[in-house]
Symmetry: C2
Amino acid sequence: MPRIVMKFGGTSMAGIERIRSVAARVKREADAGNEVLVVVSAMAGETDRLVQFCKEAAAIHDPKEYDVVVASGEQVTSGLLAMTLQNMGVKARSFMGWQLVRASGVHGNARIEDVEGGALDEALKGGMVCVIPGFQGVSEDGRVATLGRGGSDTSAVAIAAGVKADRCDIYTDVDGVYTTDPRIVPRARKLDRITFEEMLELAGVGAKVLQVRSVGLAMRERMPLRVLTAFDDLPGTEIVPELGAEDMERNAIAGIAADRNEARITLTRIADRPGTVAAVMGPLADAGIQVDMIVHAATEGAGSSDLTFTVPRASLAQAVSVLKSAGIEGDILTDDAVAKVSIVGVGIRSNPELAARMFATLAERNINLLAVSASEIKVSALVAEDEMELAVRVLHTAFGLDAPRGE
Amino acid sequence: MPRIVMKFGGTSMAGIERIRSVAARVKREADAGNEVLVVVSAMAGETDRLVQFCKEAAAIHDPKEYDVVVASGEQVTSGLLAMTLQNMGVKARSFMGWQLVRASGVHGNARIEDVEGGALDEALKGGMVCVIPGFQGVSEDGRVATLGRGGSDTSAVAIAAGVKADRCDIYTDVDGVYTTDPRIVPRARKLDRITFEEMLELAGVGAKVLQVRSVGLAMRERMPLRVLTAFDDLPGTEIVPELGAEDMERNAIAGIAADRNEARITLTRIADRPGTVAAVMGPLADAGIQVDMIVHAATEGAGSSDLTFTVPRASLAQAVSVLKSAGIEGDILTDDAVAKVSIVGVGIRSNPELAARMFATLAERNINLLAVSASEIKVSALVAEDEMELAVRVLHTAFGLDAPRGE
């Protein structure tokens, strides 16, 4: 009997009417002969309300007590969904995080260590739907621990792995993963299927559908995911370890990502000698500043060169101050009106022509490349922020991603 | 080192400002060298909100899931109070009901079986204030169990007994126990001290200050209680096993109770033979209807008589229908415009003159007695409902309970 985990976000759980519609969806899967576990978020807005209480109580507060307070939101929706299911004639019960999810690490941002599958197995074999609050577990010292904001997706994947589910379905308020941000490209298309690696790159560089941590965990556990809307009957997007024969027709490029959260730093006239780049990157790493694209091209015979890299826009001021204190030679130029545009696809690995096509497409529209980086499944270009949307649109068309007119 | 339990109701916990003022009160007791445990209710209104969710989810719902939902209210206030105390420099932590309060019986209306004092002892000895959500524990099957509405008072007393506290202070929104309802007698006076038995009679017949169950438990455990307001610095009322030498000056009568929640049933012309009263009371008991005052005076030589008794007003219709199905002979007369007025005091036991004074006082004002009953520490008279307030006032004056003018 197939075993599935269904995860519902806060928008789907906001109020009894919506919980009833979630219950109907769960009933359908149970009636279809699946063993079903449901992981739920708190009602939309509830976690914010609880976090606000904590802030008012004490500006700096004990994360153990914070966990006690905010974990209550999912406790409420778990009980409500279980009783709603029972009311529809579905055998169901809730389990609390402290009854089965062992967590470790810091309170307020804990990691799931282990899920006690025994009680769940027994309940599932008895034909029971198991409802579990997302985002929480019990710490080593026996106290309530939460996983950090947005952690319900990760809970769902960890629980799916813990009970050896066949699949984990994440119901949310979008209907799947798109080839790019539909606000930039109205003809963006929903993807039927995408690999974990592609999803990580699309999520990491801007597409906010799933929490990055949950995708990483699903990839490690090889747990197939689906992203679906809770508000309609649409197939959604499958996220799988690798594409299969049935995906042969899919574009080599899964999507175009755009990220405004970048700032560029250029150090001019730094010495061309071993260790120069390390001398710059070391202090930044020590300060916890993540450096992304790095371009260092020495000019033959000049004895000095420019070093360009990007940092998160929010860390720009700190990065400059770190570099100044480190006594970096040369001038420090900064630019925060930049954006990163990336093509993402498993096809890049085997097809160098794709990067070339990207650069040619941007050049045709006179879009200047401020920096370039590439990985196995992604090629990124740093462009002026006001050219970002144009860049995304032309690349979306050039790689054949536009939806047919009228779709 | 004295060990005390402080219990705060929903009004005292309604919002962060009030929680801060509760924390200040707790800090004062801790600074004074007490070991302090605090039992808290949910924010006023929160439990109602959660109960409403349950009702909307399913008219008839699984009490185990109901418990999961409604227990969250006290979980939130426990965490918030603990972090507020820490913020004031008081060592504090919360414990959840499932970590230490073992409960038994039906979900939604469970009884506390045992409190695991070990972890609390250790924390208290380490100078830690322990904050515990009222109204909940863990059931035999390891699930969240609640004690029924208002159960936080009972939690507090059970926890106080479990940790062998010296005293349990119940902070509420009234400043103590009064000689009668101040809405009826503006010159009602706050009592400094009252016995458990007196308190049970005053609570049972109308004075709604403490949950009856918590007083019964405190009596069995001989746990001294204090009722105090959370909103002012007033001494409140002590509730003790028995009065001491210092109470010699206290009135023999502690207070006057009034209860409108009564209805009278009179069965006329029933046979004067053994078993008649039992034939009436049996079916009512089987139907779970509580019968209170019973008057059955056979008229010498008549061969038949009247039987009068009272039942809760809400059960009147059901009682009549039970009596009809049981084939009770004679007519069934009912009257729901009645009320019960009682004098309550440990002095009644040793002083029969007190009952006589009560009847004389009522007779002087031409108040008709529809029925009378008496126990060791209480004498009750059933009167017409529209004469109840007058009866309370004249008795209050006759027994010397009126506050001096200007107090």
